[in-house]
């Protein structure tokens, strides 16, 4: 095959990728270090990774959808029980967590931006802030969970409510609400934990200097994942705490 290939500056400029520095002519040295052997162009690699990530995120949404359907069905069966039980959740802590997560989503987006402009230090800084926010979220969540354990608002056979706020009494089957609450927030919490893990990994790679203006795909994908985690919470908060 001819290797007088067109310089690798083609099709991908619109993705914010600069051209790879390789002088594409001659020996076909167009493959930069980070371009996997089976891709032809950086643009192809970036688009493929992004498409794969979106497919994965759709999968994530469907994973959560099972829980949302559970919530919807039980709420329509027992609207009264859901209202009573949700009054026992701490709106203040839930609200604080919402703000924390929204802010972390902002910093994740800023991390992508700074990585696109090749600002390694800023990228690291934003990634660290995102991680700290994620940890803060989990700490607040921990205090919420502890309160639920103390007042016995727990799933199934462990449901022995006492010392409830507003001196309320809960309907007999309120344990189902707490089952759903713990499953939804628990699964979401696991996603936050995984998020901390992958952001840490991206941060390490950034420190190592793996990324550049031309190659920042992992930062971008991890931020996408983090936005999804945030998005799920944006739905969980009103559904569980507010209405």
């Amino acid at each position: 095959m001819s290797t007088e290939a067109t310089p690798a500056t083609d099709a991908h400029d619109d993705h914010g990728h600069g051209a790879p520095d390789a002088p594409a002519a001659g020996h076909g040295h167009a493959h930069p270090k980070w371009l996997a052997h089976h891709f032809d162009t950086p643009a192809q690699q970036f688009d493929t990774a992004k498409l794969g990530m979106w497919a994965f995120l759709i999968q994530e949404l469907l994973f959560f959808s099972g829980l949302f359907v559970c919530y919807g069905i039980y709420r329509s069966w027992y609207p009264h029980m859901f209202v009573e039980s949700s009054h026992q959740l701490n709106k203040l802590m839930g609200g604080a967590n919402t703000i924390v997560l929204l802010f972390s989503s902002l910093t994740a987006a800023l991390a992508v931006r700074s990585s696109q402009t090749g600002n390694k230090q800023a990228t690291s800084r934003f990634l660290i802030i995102t991680m700290l926010c994620a940890c803060a979220f989990l700490v607040i969540k921990f205090f919420e969970y502890r309160h639920k354990f103390e007042t016995g608002c727990l799933p199934g056979p462990y449901f022995h409510p006492h010392e409830l706020s507003h001196g309320a009494t809960l309907p007999g089957n309120a344990h189902i609400f707490y089952s759903i609450y713990f499953m939804m927030t628990g699964v979401h919490g696991v996603h936050v934990l995984i998020g901390i893990g992958v952001i840490f990994w991206v941060w390490r790679r950034n420190e190592r200097g793996d990324f550049s203006k031309e190659y920042f795909t992992p930062v971008d994908l991890v931020a996408l994942y983090w936005h999804l985690v945030d998005l799920v919470w944006i739905y969980l908060f009103p559904l569980l705490y507010l209405i």
């Binding site: 329509s76 069966w77 027992y78 609207p79 009264h80 029980m81 209202v83 009494t169 309907p171 007999g172 089957n173």
Partner: protein, 320 residues
């Protein structure tokens, strides 16, 4: 054998509902057979006729959009027809006739228990009068079972925590086989039973001979103990009349007179039909659904066994 008539493929039919389903079965069977023969025949014919020969080129595939649309649309028309016929039959068979005799069927690992309207109970054997419509009310004490009467062509899951129904009218004298059709553990395949379809006279005699249900009637100790009577005993013993009247007067809680089988407006959510499932839920989970106009959520939690709940429901049902 492939051309086997109905009697080879299907068991004896003994209910008013069976023949229509059987006829559908045979219709679709003949259709499928003809279709299969045509497809396979064409396939084999082409394979023989167009075997590879030296120098004979395959004909290039042409664009056959019209043909494609034809064999997409034609089956659709056919499918709409068989769907329509089968659904009509299904609905007709699923609706219970007015005044059907209600038989409670309880599945438990690994036996069926039947309760007649007068409260008599039998396990594994059920006797029914011929040509009288019957409504089975199914429930389960433990896991999911499925009540399958082969000769009646009826089947329905018995799900713990809820009631489901089957309507059927036996039309032939003789015995029908009962199976459990949903896997339920070790002795699932021994969870069998027999329905004896007998004449009206024999049926009444059988009821007379059967043991009543003294053990469930508790302290009423009456000869004529029925589920509804037992239900009333439980109702009084548990102090229900304090709040629930049975004569239509309004108390702390809704009166139970004439409630069964009517739509109940709720404080939240759409109206609900007061059937077995609703009454059961209201007894066992009083706060689940609250009738409009009542704010009281003080009804205590009761723990009833399934037969007791059934008796209470029978009592509520009797409050016309």
């Amino acid at each position: 054998m492939i051309l086997a008539p109905e009697t080879f493929q299907l068991p004896r039919s003994m209910s008013a509902e069976a023949p229509s389903g059987d006829a559908l079965y045979m219709d679709i069977y003949w259709f499928s057979l003809v279709f299969l023969v045509l497809i396979t025949g064409a396939m084999l014919y082409f394979v023989v006729k167009y075997r590879r020969k030296k120098g004979v080129r395959p004909e290039r595939t042409r664009d056959l959009t019209k043909l494609e649309i034809f064999w997409t649309i034609t089956p659709l028309i056919f499918l709409v027809i068989i769907f329509h016929v089968s659904f009509e039959t299904y609905v007709k068979n699923a609706t219970a006739a007015e005044g059907a005799m209600e038989i409670r069927v309880r599945g438990k690992k690994w036996s069926w228990e039947f309760e007649y309207p007068n409260g008599s109970r039998e396990a594994k054997e059920l006797t029914l009068p011929v040509n009288k419509p019957v409504k089975f009310i199914l429930s389960s004490d433990d896991v999911i079972h499925s009540f399958f009467v082969r000769e009646f062509r009826v089947k329905r899951d018995a799900v713990p925590g809820q009631y489901s129904y089957i309507a059927v009218t036996p039309t032939e004298l003789g015995d029908a086989q009962i199976f459990c059709a949903e896997f339920c553990g070790t002795s699932h395949s021994d969870m069998l039973g027999t329905v004896h379809v007998v004449t009206d006279e024999q049926f009444r005699k059988h009821l007379d001979e059967m043991d009543k249900m003294p053990e469930v009637c508790g302290d009423t100790g009456k000869e004529q103990c029925t589920p509804a009577l037992w239900g009333r005993t439980l109702f009084v013993k548990n102090g229900c009349p304090t709040c629930h009247s049975v004569d239509g007067s309004k108390g702390n809680a809704p009166s139970l007179k004439g409630v069964f089988g009517t739509l109940q407006p709720l404080t939240q959510g759409p109206d609900v039909m007061a059937d077995e499932n609703y009454v059961r839920e209201s007894i066992l989970r009083p706060q689940a659904k609250i009738v409009k106009g009542f704010t009281n959520t003080q009804m205590p939690l009761f723990v009833f066994k399934d037969p007791q709940t059934d008796a209470l429901i029978a009592y509520v049902k009797s409050l016309k």
